[in-house]
Symmetry: C2
Subunit: 420 residues, 2 copies
C-alpha cells in the first residue's frame, strides 16, 4: 500500500527561520518515503488546503530545499486565518476532508504560533469527530516567544539577536553624538502582549552602565511620572538615554499607550507607534533632541543576523514533527526543553496541542527588575543562550542569496470552488 | 627637533566605519613617529580643541586601536558644531591657536562630511591669516554620500548594504503575508537632500519584478496622483508593493512632505516621519493593510553588516590623510577616484578643501529612471561595487564585540576656560 501524503503549511507572522522548519519537515519526510508519500504545501497556510491550492514540493530540488535553511519569510506563503470551531462552521471542515481525501493526505503539519496551534488542534478534533483519520502535528514558530510549554519558540532567538545587536550599535551612535545632538534614542520593538523581545534588548548591555538604560515592558503598566524621573536621572548620569519600548505598552487602565489619549505638542492624538510617542513625551519634558526607530518587519526577517541556536531549533522541531508522526503520535507539538543554562543544553519533548493552543506565555514576574524598567539575572540566564552563534547566509552580488521556490500547484482533483 | 603633534577629530553624524578612518590615521601616524609626535583626539570633535579637552591616543594599546576597524559610532565623540567665519568670530580661532600652540600641534585632521570639510578649510585659512602654521587635511565621511569630487564617501557603502539587505528581507516577509495581511511596506531611509541611500534600496531587487517596486527620491518632486497610480498597478500585478522613501521627500513646492499640509485620516497634520505618512496615504486610498519601518540610526551604525569595500576605503582615506600631511600637502582631502566599474578598481587622489566644503552632490539625472520611481542601469553600475564584501565584526557572548577606548584627557596647559 502506498504511504499517505502529507500537508504542511506556514501560518501567522513569519520569521527569519520558519523556512528552516519547513526544510526539517521536507528533508525528514524525503528520508522516510516508505512512511510518507508526497508533501503538499498549502499556498498561504490553511487557505491552500481550503482552496485546493496545494504546492507539490516533490518538484523542488534538494539544493533548493536545503537553501530554505537560510531564507527568511514563508516560502509557501503564510496567512492570518483562523478556523471557526467545528460546530460553528462544519462546512469548512467538510471541505478540508474533501481536499485531503482527494489528495490522499494522512498527515497534517502546521507551523505557527498560538493561533496556528489552535488550527492544528481543531483539525485533529475534526479527524475524530467527522471520521477522517489524520495525524496532526503542530510545529512551533513565533518571534514573540509566547508559546507555552516549549522553553522558547523558534524565530525568537534570531529576532532577539537582531534587536540586541542593532540597539548596541545605535547606542554607540547616540553616545558619540550626545554632547551637541541626540541625547535620547527610543527603539520600538514587536511583542504586543509579551515582553520577550523588549527584554532581549537588555542583552545589548555589557554591564549595568551600558545601554539600554530603560525597558518599557508590556507586562508593566506605564507610569509617566516614574518613567520621566528615570529618564532624567539617566541623562544626568550618562549624558544620554537609550530606551526600548514594546509596541504593546499599556497604561494603568490596561489600554495600549499608542492608542490612548496622549497628545503630541499640537494637541493631536498620536496614532500608531508608541516609540515616536515616547520620544515626543521626553522631548516635551526635557527639550533635548530625541530620535526613535521602528524597525518593524526588519526585526523578524533579519536572516542576515540570525542566531545559530535558533536556526538549529527551528530545523529540529520540523524534523521532530515528522518523526513524531511516523512514531504514531498525534495532536502534539514538538517543544524545546531546556536541560541546562550554561553550557546550554536542550532536547525535544512533546506538548499536547490542547495545551498550547491559544495560550500566551508572558514574562514571569521574577524576570522583571524591581523598578519594572529592566530585567533580572534570571531573565539574562534564560535569554543569553538563545542568541548564540552567527548563522550567516551565503552572499551573491554582495547581498544575501535567498531562494524562491517554483511553488508549482498540484493538479486540482475537485471541481467545486471554496470561498475563504 | 621633536616632531609636531597632531590633532584628529570626528565630526557630524557618525557611521559604521568612521572609526576605521581613525584607525588609519593613528596607525599611520605611529608608523611615522619621526614626522608626527603624539596624536591628540578632540573629545566631541572641534569642541575638544576649543575646550582643551584633548584625548591622548598614545595611551591606547595597539590592539584597541586596531579594534576601531570593527567598531561603529565615533570613538572620541562627535559633534554638530560649525565654526563661524574668521571675521565673524576671531576669538574662536585665537583660542584654537592658543590650544594648538600649548600642545605643539602642527597637524589638523578633521573627519566628516560637507560641514566638517568647511571647518577644516576655515582652520587652514586661520593658519595663513593669523600666522600659525598648521597642516590641515580633511578626511571624508558621510553616510549620505553627498561629498563632491570623491567618487563615494566612506560610510555610505555600509549604509547602502544595510538598507538593501534589510529591504530584501522585509520584501520576502511581505510577499509571504500579502494574501491575507500586509500588502504594502514602506521603508523610510536617511538622506535629507541627496537620494543615494534611497537609490541603494534598489539593489535589493534581483530583477525588474523584485522589490522595491517604487523609490521616492528627494531629487524628484512628489506627485500624489502619479504615485498612487503606480502603487495600484503594482498591487494588481504582484499582490503587494514595497516602497523606499527618502526622509527628505519634497512636494512640487519644494517643501518637505513630512512637514507639509498633508493630513491623516483624522484631519491632523502629520509630524515627523514621511514613511508613516506615505503608508497612511496608501491605506486611505486602497484600504489595504500597510506597514512602515523607520530604522533611523540602525542604518548608519550597522557595523554587523558593513561592506568590506567601504571599510577598506574608510581606512585608506585615514592613512592617506597622514601620508598627505607628511608629504607636505595642505588644505586638501583624500578623495576616492573610480578607475573601473567591473572589476571595481579605485585609488586615492587629493581634492582641495575649498572645493569640497559645503557642497552637496545630488543624484545626477541620468541615474534616475524616466518615470522618476527607480534608478537606471548607470546608477546600478555605480552603486553595485560599493556594497561588496562582508566585513563581519568579531563576536563575544553572541554579540558584536565593539571596543570603548579609555579616552584619557591630556593634562591641560591653559588656565582659561572657553565656552562653546
Amino acid at each position: 500500500m502506498a504511504p499517505k501524503n502529507a500537508f504542511y503549511a506556514q501560518s501567522g507572522g513569519v520569521s527569519a527561520v520558519i523556512n528552516a522548519s519547513a526544510c526539517g519537515v521536507l528533508q525528514t519526510a524525503r528520508e522516510h518515503s516508505h512512511e510518507i508519500g508526497k508533501v503538499y504545501a498549502g499556498r498561504n497556510g490553511i487557505i491552500g488546503a481550503l482552496t485546493e491550492d496545494l504546492i507539490d514540493t516533490s518538484l523542488e530540488s534538494e539544493a533548493v530545499i536545503d537553501a530554505l535553511k537560510h531564507t527568511p519569510g514563508a516560502a509557501f506563503g503564510s496567512c492570518r486565518y483562523k478556523l471557526a470551531a467545528i460546530h460553528e462552521h462544519r462546512g469548512q471542515y467538510e471541505r478540508l476532508i474533501e481536499v485531503f481525501r482527494a489528495h490522499d493526505i494522512g498527515f497534517f503539519f502546521y507551523n505557527g504560533g498560538g493561533d496556528s496551534q489552535d488550527t492544528a488542534h481543531k483539525v485533529s478534533q475534526m479527524g475524530v469527530r467527522l471520521g477522517y483519520p489524520i495525524v496532526c502535528i503542530g510545529i512551533p514558530k513565533t518571534v514573540d516567544n509566547d508559546l507555552p510549554i516549549t522553553d522558547c519558540s523558534p524565530g525568537f532567538g534570531s529576532m532577539a539577536k537582531y534587536v540586541a545587536t542593532s540597539l548596541r550599535e545605535a547606542a554607540f551612535d547616540v553616545a558619540s553624538m550626545c554632547r551637541t545632538s541626540t541625547k535620547v534614542f527610543v527603539l520600538e520593538v514587536m511583542g504586543r502582549h509579551a515582553g520577550w523581545t523588549t527584554a532581549a534588548c537588555a542583552l545589548a548591555a555589557d554591564d549595568e552602565n551600558s545601554a539600554p538604560h530603560i525597558l518599557l515592558l508590556p507586562e508593566v503598566a506605564f507610569n509617566e511620572g516614574r518613567f520621566l524621573a528615570k529618564v532624567e536621572k539617566t541623562l544626568e548620569r550618562y549624558g544620554h538615554c537609550v530606551i526600548a519600548v514594546s509596541e504593546g505598552l499599556k497604561g494603568p487602565d490596561g489600554k495600549f499607550i499608542s492608542a490612548s489619549g496622549l497628545q503630541d505638542a499640537f494637541g493631536h492624538a498620536r496614532l500608531g507607534g508608541v516609540g515616536p510617542l515616547i520620544s515626543d513625551m521626553i522631548h516635551a519634558k526635557f527639550g533635548c533632541k530625541c530620535r526613535w526607530a521602528v524597525p518593524d518587519y526588519f526585526q523578524r526577517s533579519a536572516r542576515h543576523i540570525a542566531a545559530e541556536t535558533d536556526l538549529q531549533q527551528a530545523y529540529a522541531v520540523g524534523r521532530a514533527a515528522v518523526e513524531f508522526a511516523i512514531a504514531g503520535k498525534n495532536a502534539v507539538m514538538p517543544a524545546i526543553r531546556r536541560l541546562n543554562d550554561a553550557p546550554y543544553r536542550w532536547d525535544i519533548i512533546e506538548a499536547p496541542l490542547s495545551e498550547v493552543a491559544n495560550q500566551e506565555k508572558l514574562m514571569p514576574p521574577d524576570f522583571i527588575s524591581a523598578d519594572g524598567f529592566g530585567i533580572t539575572e534570571a531573565a539574562r540566564r534564560y535569554l543569553a543562550p538563545l542568541i548564540v552563534g552567527e548563522a550567516y547566509p551565503p552572499y551573491k552580488n554582495a547581498l544575501p542569496h535567498y531562494v524562491q521556490l517554483q511553488n508549482v500547484a498540484a493538479p486540482k482533483k475537485l471541481t467545486k470552488e471554496f470561498a475563504v
